[in-house]
Assembly symmetry: C2
Homo-oligomer: 215 residues x 2
């Protein structure tokens, strides 16, 4: 699509942008949006503030682009993991596991996505909530599938999606802020059981999926 480097110059520009975004990612996830100075990003990207403002109109635009592309990547990875399963409850379970696994392997990504978004200003709150919506919408769609296949009783899947997301969010945030790394996957079995039970998956079914999912 738009990724074809017509001239070497365009390629160079693309590389530079990428480098700035990478640096911004690191600085933001280390210091948070407010405390990250554009000069810091410039230093980390081996460029200058002016150089950055040639490629991006505002500091905010860097952050938004970073949030969006990161969320895109994350969601597509979850979707890919879920495609491996066919049965709706197993899909939901796979989604939970995928999210925890990805975050577990990318602490700073998690930090950026889940904590810094709410960082400051109405602007960001809206942006971050859009992100929450994408996730919980994804979950809700799996739950809708499970309902229509009769795997679980009918329920307000929008609310359930939000609840699932909130539960996962809280566990990840705790893991992020805790000093002791305390492996995130450790909480997965309990989380899976609670979430599946919450939407009315029968106990036997949970047990059977548990066998496939945990090891």
């Amino acid at each position: 699509m738009g990724t074809t480097p017509r001239t070497p110059n365009e390629e160079r520009t693309r590389k530079r942008r990428e480098r700035i975004l990478d640096a911004a990612f690191h600085v933001f996830s280390r210091a948070g949006y407010r405390d990250a100075a554009v000069d810091d990003i410039a230093r980390e990207a081996d460029t200058s503030k002016g150089g950055i403002y040639f490629h991006f109109p505002t500091k905010e635009s860097i952050f938004v682009e970073l949030l969006d592309s990161t969320a895109d990547r994350l969601i597509s990875r979850v979707e890919r993991a879920v495609e491996a399963e066919t049965e709706p409850v197993a899909r939901a379970s796979a989604a939970i596991e995928a999210v925890l696994g990805i975050f577990s392997g990318h602490r700073s990504m998690a930090r950026l996505l889940l904590i810094d978004g709410l960082g400051s200003g109405a602007m960001f709150r809206v942006e971050t909530l859009r992100l929450h919506d994408r996730f919980s919408g994804l979950i809700a769609s799996y739950l809708d599938g499970a309902v229509s296949e009769g795997a679980i009783p009918p329920l307000e899947t929008r609310i359930a999606g939000a609840i699932w997301f909130g539960a996962i969010h809280e566990l990840v945030v705790r893991w992020l802020v805790a000093d002791h790394p305390a492996p995130l996957e450790e909480a997965f079995p309990t989380l899976r059981v609670l979430l599946l039970r919450s939407v009315g998956v029968p106990a036997e079914r949970i047990a059977s999926i548990a066998g496939a999912g945990t090891r």
Copy 2:
């Protein structure tokens, strides 16, 4: 206890502090911590910046004191609501309802407690997480009670507490940020069913409590 006003001067000082805290509460919950200038608080409290710095050492100290006292009040209100019930599952249900009800009636309190805390800086993240801990610890203790009375099967109540808190948190944050007020209590029935199911409360018991709780 310490509330005896020895001299009229002490009383006056106490009043002044209180007035500053009230103003800070309003300004913080309107603008967020970072965007709230101490001058703004001074204006709202009908005093001056110097006046504020006579009573408080730093801007941060105002915020922390505000967070703590607000959380204290909130938690004690929840505990009082829960004391009315004796049966452990009903207690948990009452706790959920109480939290939603209180937040519903105090939007700005909720905003301050749940959103602005994560606002900025590691300092605050720690402070806010302490608050999350208090809540989810409270929930965990109710769940422990339910487990020991045999009302629900054994489970990792710490994790379950975090999950419950995360679920509630997410719903409240959505309600806070949404433009349309969309009554918070509306989500309560779904939330209660999902949370109670998640910890293994039998369906009949949930139904019986539902009758007592919703109207």
